[in-house]
């Protein structure tokens, strides 16, 4: 019961604190508009390069829109506590670490889903991409699963925040890796084979492919393995993130480096 309370109420309070500075205007400026302009950039770049049609870039980048709030939001789970001088209190609390950090992950997943759907809908209208009616529900599931896997990577980013203050830099590096190598903007067959293979372990790779196939008219059963693969990637990153948080926490206690990281 205590873990459930930490997971839900703790996560909600942390989320409200994290975005406490946000009002609708700055949320729009920070998240909603950049997700669209970023997508438009890649659509036009794709047109110039003649490597794929607009749907390829819309379907992929709408999912990347979920990555940014996940990566940076989760990083703030640690950096924000440090900023408000409460990181040490978190570390000494007896609360279950999975409940604590997964509680912070749930609102980030919800936020990622909202941003991704917003980007998909507006970009679809702008670039004339239609989604078949039967694909709407599976697409929503794909977005949810992809947002989860991005938050898994975000948890890993958060763990690095225990070792390094520059979580913004780390988040940007991870985001750029996704933009370049997750098959979102560069088709995987254009990457070197080893890179294309490595991309199978990145969040979004399978989700983007599922999303493209759904937009093209594929059925749920056809893309189910891709969605499952995306979920598996998310589970693995979540496990890595939680393990890393535990390891770095122990190390920070041992070396008394929590506040000097």
């Amino acid at each position: 019961m205590t873990n459930l309370r930490v997971l839900t109420i703790g996560g909600l309070i942390s989320y409200r604190a994290l975005f406490g500075w946000l009002n609708p205007a700055s949320y729009t400026l920070t998240i909603l508009i950049p997700s669209l302009t970023q997508l438009a950039f890649f659509v036009f770049l794709g047109r110039a390069a003649h490597v794929a049609d607009d749907a390829f870039f819309v379907a992929g980048n709408a999912l990347v829109a979920a990555a940014a709030p996940s990566l940076f939001g989760m990083a703030q789970a640690v950096a924000g506590e440090r900023y408000t001088n409460t990181l040490a209190l978190i570390v000494v609390s007896p609360a279950s670490r999975p409940a604590l950090f997964l509680g912070r992950a749930l609102p980030a997943i919800a936020n990622g889903v909202v941003v991704s759907i917003w980007t998909f809908v507006i970009a679809g209208l702008l670039f004339g991409i239609t989604i078949p009616a039967h694909a709407v529900a599976p697409l929503a599931l794909t977005i949810l699963v992809t947002a989860f896997s991005c938050v898994g990577l975000g948890l890993f980013n958060a763990s690095l925040g225990l070792r390094w203050r520059e979580t913004g830099v780390l988040g940007n590096i991870l985001l750029y890796v996704l933009l370049l190598f997750a098959g979102v903007n560069v088709p995987l067959d254009r990457l070197p084979s080893w890179l294309s293979t490595a991309a199978q372990g990145l969040p979004i790779t399978h989700g983007a492919e599922a999303s493209r196939q759904l937009v093209a008219g594929a059925s749920f059963s056809h893309v189910a393995p891709l969605i499952a693969a995306e979920a598996l990637v998310g589970v693995v990153y979540t496990a890595i993130g939680l393990t890393a948080i535990g390891l770095f926490e122990v190390e920070a206690r041992r070396g008394a480096t929590l506040e000097v990281a």
Partner: protein, 256 residues
């Protein structure tokens, strides 16, 4: 002469400070690496001069990224450091204090250009062949200073907003998109082109491309950069006077 000294000292000081900031360095170094790589994979098979221009474009993207990331929020940074009131209160005109900060912010974009060129040379074997070195040597500072002056305009217009950083960030991708950097303007809707003329990166990139490939009229583009820089500067000074006056009247400089 005092303005020249304030500008020179301020520029040197802030350039050195920014050169030690992991975040600012990341912004200007990552952009050329990421976007030159992207161009390599997307435009594979095109001539080496195309990749050279893409490297320059990704360098200009880095300069612009630095400006939007830090330039717009330059005064917010001074506010956070607790020195904004002191700077406003100095006898030196405030614009002369702010201008070197924003030019330094775009100035570290020189790393972007250098990294972009070194990257395509070392990793993709692209020869650095420039048709007109004098025009290229003039285009680099013209691009940096004009973008720095645009950053000055942003900083001045947004001095009263704590969310200046976020507002500045909104311009990052659109300017990358419309200014003919990696994306040819021919693939964009026609109505976007006149808008792109208002942004210094359009002319800076055109000058760099023209000087490198021997096409276009790079000196004219450099002149356009200079003209835009002057316009940004004048508009920025007007904005700064107006907003600072309002902040003094309302006593909201620290509270904005």
């Amino acid at each position: 002469m005092p303005f020249a000294r304030v500008f020179a000292v301020g520029l040197a000081l802030h350039f050195k400070m920014l050169s030690r900031s992991p975040f600012d360095l990341f912004v200007v170094i990552a952009s050329p690496l990421i976007f030159a790589t992207l161009a390599y994979f997307l435009f594979e098979g095109e001539s080496s001069s195309s990749l050279l221009v893409a490297a320059l474009a990704s360098g200009v993207m880095g300069i612009w990224s630095s400006t939007t990331a830090s330039g717009a929020g330059a005064l917010q940074t001074q506010r956070r450091l607790g020195v904004l009131e002191l700077l406003v209160g100095t006898p030196t005109p405030f614009w002369a204090v702010v201008l070197p900060i924003t030019v330094a912010i775009s100035g570290i974009g020189i790393y972007s250009l250098a990294v972009g060129l070194a990257y395509v040379r070392l990793f993709y074997g692209v020869p650095i062949v420039v048709d007109s070195w004098p025009a290229f040597a003039a285009a680099v500072p013209a691009t940096i200073v004009s973008i720095g002056c645009l950053g000055f305009l942003f900083a001045s217009a947004l001095v009263r907003y704590r969310s200046a950083f976020q507002i500045g960030n909104v311009f990052e991708w659109p300017v990358w998109m419309i200014c003919g950097l990696l994306i040819p303007v021919s693939v964009l809707p026609g109505w976007l082109q006149p808008i792109s003329w208002l942004f210094a990166p359009t002319w800076g990139m055109s000058a760099l491309r023209g000087a490198t490939l021997g096409t276009g009229r790079p000196w004219l583009d450099i002149a356009a950069c200079a003209a835009l820089a002057g316009a940004y500067l004048l508009a920025g000074i007007v904005f700064l006077r107006f907003f600072l006056h309002r902040a003094r009247v309302d006593a909201t400089l620290a509270l904005s």
